[in-house]
Subunit: 150 residues, 2 copies
Amino acid sequence: VTRVTKRGLAAEVWRSLLSVFYAGFPERERVLSEFGLTPGDFKVLVALSEHETRSMRELATTWACDASNVTWMVDRLEHRGLVERRTHPTDRRIKTVVLTPAGAKTRREVLARFLAPPADLFELERSDLEVLRDTLARLPHRATPFDDVT
Amino acid sequence: VTRVTKRGLAAEVWRSLLSVFYAGFPERERVLSEFGLTPGDFKVLVALSEHETRSMRELATTWACDASNVTWMVDRLEHRGLVERRTHPTDRRIKTVVLTPAGAKTRREVLARFLAPPADLFELERSDLEVLRDTLARLPHRATPFDDVT
DNA sequence: TAAGATTGATAAATCAATCTTA
DNA sequence: TAAGATTGATTTATCAATCTTA
């Protein structure tokens, strides 16, 4: 009898998932240029939410990029009127970044495109999708930058 | 009775998959800097395989980036001795990019890290992983740039 | 004429200081 | 001292021509 290791199983599953992600790569790039956003701009928009604010440092660690990069990305978004810098009420070192109404709108629109399930998923039967949903629900829950988007 | 649309189901599934994908983002960035590869370098390495060659244009369309960008990325990799440019046998306009033995080795090593399933997947029971594997196997098969990696 | 690739100019991201406040 | 953020210099990536071959 063939004995498939748990590691082997996980590897097969991960391959399938990666192929779905990579298939959508060109489309995601198109969406960004449609909205006139650089990958960096997008990262900042996503990491912010309409109800929570983030500091420059938090934005940098969220995306594993340099703090100076965040300064630059927020500058661009601020000039476009999509975000604003505020000074932290108690710690004057911290700059807090908040979405403007226009920024919240852009964020909703671009995320709606990103969060739309890829066409391949619709190829599955309804019952298959239910199985996937129920099984994936048992994964440890990880916070995402788009948890607030409905 | 609540009626969940197929679209709603797919959206839930996609959210779960995205959260897994985004959780691994910082780690993937770390791997790249460990190997001294820019995201562009990585894209070229992945898109090549040990048995197939790709033209500059094919590399550009695979990753939805500009052809001039590919010129630049291949330059860097060629200086590091990881790839070589060859002239196409019949069409002298085309430059074919091939992996050197060192490039093939680097590609295997970095892909081994990228293709390693994230720790969260191992949190699932063996039976859950089997269900995922079998269900995902019914997705339409899409070629990935790493199909050749075992 | 058009496709493939490169070059040169611009924009964006990263790295190494610097400045401010805790 | 150290954390948070910014500035300036360097590296990468993108955009607009240019060059070569089909």
